[in-house]
């Protein structure tokens, strides 16, 4: 459930740490979801399909990088346009390649397998939550840890943080800002590709136009709430996922649906009272343009 959001949020966090505010997550995930299905259709292998999705989204995010870094376009404008572009492009390709409108669904297409973890799956209740997911879900947990190590323990990660913290100073140290920002954007593309693949090959095995349904924006919120740290982002995504589950279960009660659907957003807002300004936030705002 939270995996696509978390993956996209991690990508966004990486960009934010490099000083790029990436609002194109929604579009990137959508492209990932489509190319996952396309890859599966072309190669017949889910594994290759995931790779294909990752590569396609990286190409797409290269466009983001080129226009916002090389052509110095405003990253937010580019991000918003790319969201529109992704929607148009995937819908068009759906029609051009699969000759369907709306949804591509093939009962015989094989999605990502579900892996059961031995022992864990036998734990009552918890086993059902922790086990029986697609490999990408487990990969995501690994990615969170790797990203954490990468950012805070390696040299490349350290320099990436430097670029985001103070671009001019980094440049004066001879650190190529562009290279790091490109790297972050490409990595974000790869993560969004995985997010899309998990959406269209893991959670379901189909593609519907606009199937991201705002998940990319939730990822944006999760990334900001998690202060662009991998662990924080994971926490924020889990919080959101949990509240979403709560909200679904409240639907049957007498509260109007519109209010139960508000719950995840309101709770996230309230959680901001507890996780505020830990120093990094100010930096995040600087890079995202709100110079407070």
């Amino acid at each position: 459930m939270v995996t696509p959001i978390l993956l996209a949020a991690l990508g966004g966090a990486l960009c934010a740490r490099a000083g790029v505010f990436n609002v194109a997550l929604e579009g990137l995930v959508l492209v990932g979801a489509f190319s996952g299905i396309l890859g599966n259709y072309l190669t017949g292998s889910v594994f290759l399909a995931v790779i294909f999705a990752v590569v396609c989204v990286m190409l797409f995010s290269l466009l983001f990088g080129y226009v916002s870094i090389h052509l110095q376009a405003n990253p937010i404008v580019v991000g918003i346009s790319l969201n529109f572009l992704a929607l148009g492009l995937t819908t068009f390709c759906l029609r051009a390649i699969f000759n369907v409108k709306g949804t591509y669904y093939d009962k015989n297409m094989v999605g990502l397998p579900k892996w059961d973890i031995p022992l864990v799956q036998d734990i009552p209740w918890l086993g059902g939550v922790l086990s029986g997911h697609s490999p990408l879900v487990y990969l995501t947990i690994v990615i969170v840890l790797l990203l954490h190590l990468f950012l805070f323990k390696t040299i490349v990660g350290f320099r990436l943080l430097a670029v985001g913290e103070n671009g001019i100073a980094a440049k004066s140290m001879g650190i190529g800002i562009r290279r790091y920002q490109y790297g972050a954007i490409l990595a974000c593309g790869a993560l969004c590709g995985l997010a899309g693949a998990q959406l269209s090959l893991g959670q379901v095995t189909m593609f519907t136009e606009g199937m991201t349904s705002g998940r990319g924006f939730i990822a944006l919120v999760a990334m900001m709430l998690g202060q662009s740290s991998p662990l924080g982002t994971m926490g924020a995504s889990l919080l959101f996922g949990f509240m979403d589950a709560v909200s679904i279960r409240l639907q049957g009660l007498s509260i109007p649906t519109q209010f139960t659907m508000m719950i995840p957003y309101v709770v996230t807002l309230i959680s901001l009272f507890f996780f505020k300004d830990k120093g990094y936030l100010a930096e995040a705002q600087k890079t995202s343009g709100s110079s407070r």
Binding site: L161, A169, G174, G176
Partner: protein, 500 residues
């Protein structure tokens, strides 16, 4: 010859910042560059460091032509630069700041422990003390300066460019820095030092290049010149001696009683301070930076909450009032940090000049743009601010010229009381003389001035009374006309030096 810069010319639009400049550096020498604000010193060094490309001209290192497309190239050629405005990552530790770009590794990992060790080692070798595990943003300006130098040394620079390194330092820190510079030169490093303080030049430099209006007006051996000749070459005229008349203090304009301000950790940073500033007098505050001067000023201006005590300005209680209200009550303020408090960098000079004058230059909320434009143009002319137009963005002005604009703006408030914090920081000697004269004139007209400066000579030259701050308290008061440097230094040190 280690470094030759030949016929360097750099133009920005219609403005020529460097015009056919020749500059040479010998191995192991300390070479000072002096010149007025906007003479083109920083520009020349930015070209050397690959941050700007010269419009024409060539750079040779050990006779071989070099071209620097970026700082990276300059760094590989053994050039390091400490910028006029620091280039630090404030949320990183000192050690991280020093090693960035050439970090120690352990396998695939960034070895932070080794980084600390290396910094300690460098620090010992060159006698430059720092606290490697402190966040750079929390360090005093002096310490940040030292971090910058260590950073350059860590990169293995042979040629070290220091752009106005002493502008923000206290006298003690200056002394330590100059000693470190000599030590570095002694160990074979070659140093280019930009400064406005000619006595520093005479103290450490081997050779001196003087720039004026983008051109070289002299290259001199230290031994064969003197302060007078240098200032003549810089300014193009003789400097007059300032004459300070005896004060005729009137009524108290500012009364501060038992003012207490707590720092972020809850400890008092200004500790029950009481003093008066009367009309027609200049009161100087001296002290090692970090002893509460900044906090004192900020709480006087309403930019920081005072926890106890009262501040009265021209008979009104202004304790913890909003900055706007306090200005209304008759306060103008030359801030100590011109970029943080004093300007909006991406705005024009006119817009920067308007700040604090909004009500004067508007009628029922509508700005009178002609008058503002005229006023700012007048200031630019009167203070000799070098700029192509008053519509220039503030960030394109050299540091000193921007400072002149701020001083002009605040003097033009014509308030009975003025806080002048580091009013001549980064300003050339000609302009400094001019600003000093303006402050004295204001005093003669009956203005009350609180001067806060880490430049002892400035405090001594201008003040009628000198208060020395130490650890948030006023450690003593001296008569400005009789105080000696020794007496002040003793109070500043509180009996023992703070920097040991």
């Amino acid at each position: 010859m280690l470094l030759q810069m030949e016929q360097i010319t750099k133009t920005y639009g219609e403005l020529t910042a460097n015009k056919a400049v020749d500059f040479t550096l010998r191995e192991g020498e300390v070479h000072a560059i002096v010149g007025e604000n906007g003479a083109g010193k920083t520009t020349l060094m930015r070209i050397l460091y690959g941050m700007e490309q010269p419009t024409s001209g060539a750079i040779r290192i050990r006779g071989k032509e070099a071209s620097f497309g970026s700082p990276r190239d300059a760094i590989t050629s053994g050039i390091g630069m400490v910028h006029q405005h620091f280039m630090l990552f404030s949320s990183f530790t000192v050690a991280e700041n020093v090693v960035i770009g050439a970090e120690p590794v352990k396998g695939a990992w960034f070895d932070r422990r080794k980084a600390v060790e290396r910094v300690n080692e460098l620090s010992r070798t060159y006698g430059i003390p720092v606290e490697p595990e402190r966040k750079a943003g929390e360090c005093s300006l002096g310490a940040q300066q030292r971090v910058e130098i260590l950073k350059v040394l860590h990169q293995g620079a042979e040629i070290i460019v220091l752009d106005e390194p002493t502008a923000v330092l206290t006298p003690l820190e200056v002394k330590e820095l100059l000693a470190a510079i000599r030590r570095l030169a002694g160990q074979g490093k070659s140093i280019i030092l930009i400064t406005h303080k000619l006595h520093e030049v005479m103290e450490v430099a081997d050779r001196i290049t003087v720039l004026r209006g983008g051109q070289v007006t002299g290259v001199l051996e230290k031994a064969e010149t003197n302060v007078e000749e240098l200032s003549r070459l810089m300014v193009g005229r003789e400097l007059a001696e300032l004459n300070k008349s005896r004060p005729m203090p009137g009524e108290a304009s500012l009364r501060v009683d038992k003012l207490l301000v707590r720092g972020d950790n809850g400890k008092p940073v200004v500790d029950e301070v009481s003093f008066r500033v009367a009309q027609g007098e200049i009161v100087g505050i001296a002290g090692v930076s970090g002893n509460g001067q900044s906090e004192l000023i900020q709480s006087l201006c309403g930019l920081r909450r005072a926890d106890q005590g009262t501040v009265a300005l021209n008979g009104r209680d202004v304790t913890n009032k909003l900055p706007g209200v306090i200005r209304e009550a008759g306060l103008a303020h030359i801030p100590e940090d011109r970029y943080q408090w004093g300007t909006a960098k991406d705005r024009t000079l006119v817009e920067n000049g308007l700040m604090g004058h909004q009500s004067k230059f508007s009628r029922s909320g509508v700005l009178q743009k002609k008058r503002i434009h005229q006023a700012v143009s007048d200031w630019v002319q009167k203070f000799g601010v070098k700029t192509s137009s008053v519509q220039e963005k503030a960030q394109n002005l050299s540091g000193g010229n921007l400072q002149k604009l701020i001083v002009a703006r605040e003097l033009a408030q014509e308030t009975p009381f003025l806080i002048a914090a580091e009013p001549t920081r980064g300003v050339d000697i000609g302009a400094m003389e001019f600003i000093h004269k303006q402050l004295l004139d204001k005093r003669t007209e009956g203005g009350a001035i609180l001067l806060v400066s880490s430049e002892l000579s400035e405090v001594m030259k201008l003040s009628d009374r000198i208060l020395v701050m130490y650890e948030g308290k006023i450690a003593g008061e001296l008569d400005g006309h009789e105080a000696t440097e020794e007496a002040i230094s003793l109070l500043m040190a509180g009996g023992k030096s703070k920097h040991e």
